[in-house]
């Protein structure tokens, strides 16, 4: 039976993804900073899908040195690992606050890279595995309203591309997911355009469908077109836009 590890499992996208993966026949390993918060969701997944659902010891993406030991302590190396955690942060604060600045970089980039490295190396040694990284359309071009978050996601996207290239021959598959606006805890209270905002369930379905066939997936699909246009705007023009 295939086991999927979900990192950042308290997130809304992660819980929807967990359900889709269980529906597709995976057993689950759920990981979060505060494992106690996962108990009721894990139980729900068990009742719904009749799959094995276990909760791992606490996982903190920012604890950069801990990841190797944390992975070694898992019951087994998972067949699939999804890196869903992320930190949008407070951009105004980040401009003047080293701690917030570092946190955005560490959760979205450095920590994600660290744990993906450790998983990829072990999957490559085994000769099989799938890594799913949740990046963002925000990483496709730096914007004034989310320069720290966007650039960290840009780095993560580039890293996933390199990881795919590096480990393809070792049987490790890497899937980059770029969601657009999603209605989750992260965006709660923001005034997002309703027509462009997807549900976590929609995003999760797109991800599970993409895993066997795609390297990079935008979800919903139309963000590929939107981002193409945004990337095409010449920088002298782009710098004047309020985005």
């Amino acid at each position: 039976m295939s086991t999927a590890l979900i990192l950042g499992a308290t997130s809304d996208i992660a819980l929807a993804l967990a359900a889709e993966l269980a529906r597709a026949g995976h057993d689950l390993l759920l990981a979060a900073r505060d494992p106690a918060r996962l108990e009721e969701d894990a139980q729900d997944l068990r009742v719904r899908f009749g799959r094995k659902v276990a909760i791992t010891p606490a996982f903190d993406a920012e604890a950069l040195d801990s990841h190797a030991a944390w992975i070694e302590a898992l019951p087994a190396l998972p067949d699939l690992a999804a890196l869903v955690f992320g930190h949008l942060g407070d951009e105004e604060k980040a401009l003047g606050d080293p701690a917030e600045r570092a946190r955005i970089a560490n959760v979205n980039y450095t920590g994600a890279v660290a744990v993906a490295d450790e998983l990829a190396v072990r999957m490559a040694a085994r000769g099989s595995g799938t890594l799913v990284g949740i990046s963002s359309v925000a990483g496709d071009r730096g914007r004034g309203s989310n320069l720290h978050y966007g650039s960290a996601k840009a780095g993560f996207t580039a890293f996933l591309s390199g990881l795919r290239n590096r480990f393809r021959a070792s049987g490790v598959k890497v899937v980059t997911v770029k969601p657009g606006f999603v209605a989750t805890r992260m965006t709660e209270g923001m005034d997002l355009p309703a027509r462009l905002t997807a549900t976590p369930e929609k995003v999760a379905r797109d991800i599970v469908r993409a895993i066997p066939q795609r390297d990079v997936v935008y979800t919903p699909w139309f963000w590929r077109c939107i981002m193409l246009v945004i990337r095409l705007v010449p920088e002298p023009v782009f710098k004047r836009l309020k985005l």
Partner: protein
């Protein structure tokens, strides 16, 4: 680590009838701990599920939307006992448990309701004459009271609170979890028998003889008058065994065939459903050739309207009401024709009208504000306008005079005095209302009916 408290959001909300419409502050807690935290922080308003109550029961300036409390907790494959959070929808429950051969003991005419909403309205189904309302099939309810305390109640534990909460329209607290006994089914199909009844006397006789059927309900043509007054089509149903089904269904008898879902994208103009159109429709509907026996999957048998999304928009922006009442059995033969004639005289048409014979209310102790009692219940949809506004108090008076009552999950305009006479047990619910405590539970409906101060 405490989770971030959910931020409020402003939305325009209403019941399924699209009136009244209110700008509300909508809280959307993710866990029962967040529910308790919101209550302790002084929540003042009412719980809300999927907003399928027609009137103003789930409407207030502040509402707590429970749809994120949608986790299953436990399921016992031996007994069928399901523990779940209150925001689990019936649609979700069916999708999860029908393939395993289980069905809730009571289902309403739509699967887009939450379990909490279903309990708060103590819903009834097409099997009421045999199985009673939802409250009879609950092991326990857990709710957050106005002081923030989480309390469990059942027919044995805190029974007064239990009977006030079933059918209590959210006034006793926020239901967070509950335990419900599901029932085994042999397939996802119903064997449906259909027959016509030429008038009210015939349909009432048909219901009497259909007493042994598991499910029974009739569509009634409220526009036909004179000797055809009350002409109806009676549908009865039984769970189908797999070996009765066509060969292609037998392999997987619990699979419900998918079908396209239509949608009403916009509010239609108010005149779209005029009297002549409805009369023509009813005529065709009644006259069409019927197959005496057919097989329907659960969706088509129980929730035919769910195949058209947002169908409530066909009545236009002014909205509509569903008028549903029940009359004591011994008063039906004289009062029902009078009510039908009164509706016809008003020139008010109802596109959808449903007639059903309820069985006795719970033998031991019915819920304090429980609606079903032994007798006929009739549900009619009226577009909202001045004529409807004049008609409803007249109908209320006729229902009241016959000793009947109006269903609170549908009610949108009853007067407080009418309510007080129809529901003398309201005092039992008032006794369970919070005195003190940081929070207060009240809806537009409870204020209008003077149930809450």
């Amino acid at each position: 680590m405490s989770s971030p408290s959910p931020s409020p959001d402003r939305h325009s909300i209403s019941g399924w009838g699209n009136r009244p419409r209110v700008e509300a502050r909508v809280r959307r807690p993710r866990t029962r701990q967040e529910v308790a935290a919101l209550v302790e922080a002084g929540f003042r308003g009412i719980a809300r599920g999927l907003g399928r109550a027609y009137g103003d029961a789930a409407v207030a300036e502040e509402v707590m939307d429970l749809t994120r409390l949608r986790r299953f907790i436990a399921f016992d494959e031996e007994t069928g006992c399901l523990e779940a959070e209150a925001g689990v929808t019936l649609a979700d429950l069916l999708e999860t448990f029908v393939p395993r051969g289980w069905l809730p003991p009571v289902v309403p005419g739509t699967k887009f309701v939450t379990l909490g909403g279903a309990v708060a309205a103590d819903i009834h189904g097409k099997n009421h004459h045999r199985d009673g309302s939802l409250g009879h099939h609950l092991d326990w309810i857990e709710l957050v009271r106005a002081d923030g305390a989480t309390v469990r109640c059942s027919p044995e534990e805190n029974p007064d609170l239990f009977h006030a909460t079933c059918g209590g329209m959210g006034l006793t607290g926020i239901i967070t979890r509950l335990a419900l006994r599901l029932r085994r089914i042999p397939s996802a199909f119903i064997r449906m028998d259909t027959r016509k009844a030429a008038n009210l006397t015939e349909i009432m006789a048909a219901f009497e003889t259909a007493d042994a059927a598991t499910y029974s309900v009739a569509w009634i043509d409220c526009l036909a008058g004179g000797p055809a007054l009350g002409r109806s089509i009676l549908m009865t149903g039984e769970h189908a065994e797999p070996d009765e089904l066509p060969a292609r269904r037998r392999a997987d008898p619990f699979r419900i065939p998918g079908r396209p879902r239509l949608n009403v994208p916009l509010f239609l103009p108010g005149w779209a459903l005029n009297h002549a159109a409805m009369k023509a429709f009813n005529e065709i509907y009644y006259r069409r050739p019927l197959r005496a026996r057919s097989y329907r999957d659960l969706d088509r048998f129980f929730f035919p309207l769910d195949s058209i999304g947002n169908w409530n928009r066909i009545y236009g922006r002014r909205g509509f009401i569903q008028y549903q009442f029940v009359l004591p059995r011994d008063r039906c033969a004289d009062a029902l024709p009078r009510i039908l004639e009164r509706i016809q005289a008003s020139g008010r048409a109802s596109f959808l009208a449903v007639l059903k014979l309820f069985g006795p209310a719970h033998p031991d102790r019915p819920p304090s504000l429980g609606f079903p009692r032994e007798g006929y219940t009739l549900a009619l949809d009226f577009p909202w306008d001045d004529r409807t506004e004049r008609l409803t108090p007249e109908l209320d008076a006729l229902v009241l005079e016959a000793g009947g009552r109006i269903y609170l999950a549908k009610d949108a305009c009853m007067a407080p005095a009418t309510f007080a006479t129809m529901y003398p047990q309201a005092t039992d619910v008032r006794a369970q209302l919070p005195d003190g405590g940081p929070a207060r539970f009240a809806s537009h409906q409870s204020g209008r009916l003077e149930l809450t101060p």
